[in-house]
Subunit: 393 residues, 2 copies
């Protein structure tokens, strides 16, 4: 009676959300401090004080709650253009910026504006599986290409092999969810050369959609290379869910490189899709709220402490994993072949995690460490016990 | 290079937005007080004082800006369920309520959850043309059926004739944009009988999607009949854009009648679509803001004064029109056959309006009277001159 596609697809559901619901059940059963729930990337700090103060202060600004242009407030777009230019050296102006209802909206809008049915989008595994839905909504095809084991850097020859005449775009997500890797300047430059070659061979661009919600969540002074600078056909999608701890408010933007051929038409198509997909415009108050906080990184110090602690606990327990360079996820090697069986085993130790199969990269598991320091510290023995049970050692 | 469908469709664009842009140009040229811009349904009052005060007060509520369930905050959904039960007598509970990013999002999500490619949705003209996009996104077909001239009430025999085995739903919008009509209890009961017959004949329900953003903007003590009460297969979509003057903040809800067969599956499908279309969840702060203001109608008195004034001015100038019963639009008969030529003629008199063709109902024109009382008063002579030029009288 309802949409066949939706009813079929929702049976697959979201692994992350399913584990999150299970975590809540266990907490009700055993008590919150006895359950080590590493499932959901829900930033645990409150937004920075300056951001909260600005919300209060902006509430009574005349016209702030009314309809504005579908692309968003002009002054906010101007500030983001200036920020993007500062970060990339590319001459962005307000007209290349579209305010959107979070990065998920930005990706949906971008893919609808770009894609024709049957076209392909390359994603680099491990990856956020929601990309499958956004591409599927346009009757497109996701082509996953695995990143290199251990470093999770792009596998350039594998990407080159995956590109066809039907390739419309590649989605990059660095700092990466779930691996915590930051793609290096060298990797990205090599990818740019491959895409230039493909453009010559197939006669049309391969767009680079850079999903960057974690760009401010970076450790050890590592610099995230600017995708907008490296790729002439870059479309940057960003949100303030992580950097300002505002995930429930749905605020972000799209920045279309002015170096894209017919960039004006693409922007107009995106604004049209923003309207006709039913987003209409990004929430007015939060557009204004974020405009003066583009460089902040809420809770960065706390995330770093937790990363260090969790990494040490895992290594100490016997697990093998890369130390994350950014975001707030740790992607460790599963000591059993079947990561789904492993996540079930973890539940017995009151650890809730998401298997790598949930990110198109079996044999690993993800821990979201945007949880309290105490939760991580208290989980040490459970991880030791889990490792012993899984390996028999 | 981009989506062919999008690039083609956006060439058609939005009549309303196009006239809105033109209005801004004229204002820059002649001065704001010399241009009578009746194009956009952008509520001109600020939100009620109590709503603004609540925003300020809620800003520092712990966890209010974080991810919540994709369906929205449980307490807010409970309050809306109680409100819906009070209005309809139907036993709604929180689990039938989904918080969404405005009514446009609610319609997009509803149609995606319901429709299979090629299925049909009946809309009653005059109607908000954006419905074409929302249905088109699902590769569905819009079947417009004209309401009766003069009263703009549903033409029941015509609807009966338009229903086929492929009819998935009918969209109702009462109080209506653009006509200002409120569909009567009698009309709706007759429609319910027709839909019951169709369900028997075709073996599946025809869902009633009730788009109700104007349900609180009602004049002269007229009561809006409850669609959720009259139709067992009702899906109510509402927003606070008009009732609380918050259109830029994108906050609304879907209420699925518990009397729908497999209502639980439909709700789950909608929550899934909320996530996978990229909405994720309705903005957290505004979910909490609206929860205690479900019965307010911002600016109602002022709208009524403006309706009365504009109606008198039009009739005095010679135009023929129905006095609107709700919403803030007046839909008058065009004194020339070609409403597009008429809207061009109006521009010469500094009047910006939208022709009925922009609502699938040629030969009429719409005036949005959510503009200042002075703008309306000052437009009197211009309407007289326009009528004279159009009729030669």
């Amino acid at each position: 009676m309802f949409s066949k596609t939706v009813v079929e697809n929702m049976a697959g559901g979201s692994w992350i959300r399913a584990m999150f619901e299970l975590g809540n059940q266990l907490k009700a059963q055993y008590g919150t401090d006895k359950v080590y729930d590493f499932t959901l990337g829900n930033p645990d700090p409150e937004p920075p004080e300056a951001v909260l103060a600005q919300m209060e202060q902006l509430v009574r600004t005349p016209n702030i709650h009314k309809y504005m242009s579908n692309a968003g407030f002009e002054d906010v777009r101007g500030k983001i253009a200036a920020y993007m230019e500062r970060e990339s050296g590319v001459a962005f102006t307000a007209k290349e910026i579209i305010m959107v209802t979070g990065a998920a909206a930005g990706l949906s809008i971008t893919l609808k504006a770009l894609m024709n049915p049957g076209e392909e989008v390359i994603v680099l595994a491990p990856y956020f599986m929601e990309y499958n839905s956004y591409v599927g909504n346009q009757n497109g095809k996701v082509v996953p290409v695995k990143t290199l084991p251990d470093t999770f850097q792009p596998d350039i020859p594998a990407i080159e092999k995956a590109i066809t005449a039907n390739t419309k775009a590649i989605i990059l997500n660095s700092p990466n969810n779930p691996s915590g890797a930051i793609y290096t300047e060298e990797s990205l430059q090599a990818l740019a050369r491959v895409l230039d070659e493909a453009e010559k061979e197939f006669g049309h661009p391969v767009y680079v959609i850079s999903d960057e919600p974690y760009v401010k969540i970076v450790y050890d002074g590592v610099k995230v290379p600017s995708v907008a600078k490296i790729f002439k056909n870059a479309i940057t999608v960003n949100s303030f869910s992580k950097s300002l701890a505002l995930p429930g408010e749905r605020i972000g933007y799209i920045a279309v490189n002015p170096t894209i051929e017919d960039a004006d038409t693409l922007v107009a198509a995106m604004v049209y899709c923003n309207r006709t997909l039913g987003f209409v415009n990004a929430p007015g108050l939060f557009q204004k709220v974020i405009a003066d906080h583009l460089d902040e990184a809420a809770g960065l110090e706390a995330y770093k402490e937790r990363r260090d602690l969790l990494y040490d606990i895992l290594v100490d327990a016997g697990f093998s994993c890369m130390k994350p360079q950014g975001a707030f996820y740790l992607f460790a090697k599963c000591p059993m072949e079947d990561d789904s069986a492993f996540s079930q085993m973890a539940i017995k130790h009151n650890i809730i995690l998401v298997g790598g199969s949930g990110f198109g990269y079996p044999g690993y598991f993800r821990l979201a460490y945007c949880v309290s320091y105490d939760t991580i510290r208290n989980s040490a023995q459970a991880f030791k016990d889990l490792y012993k049970e899984a390996t028999g050692k």
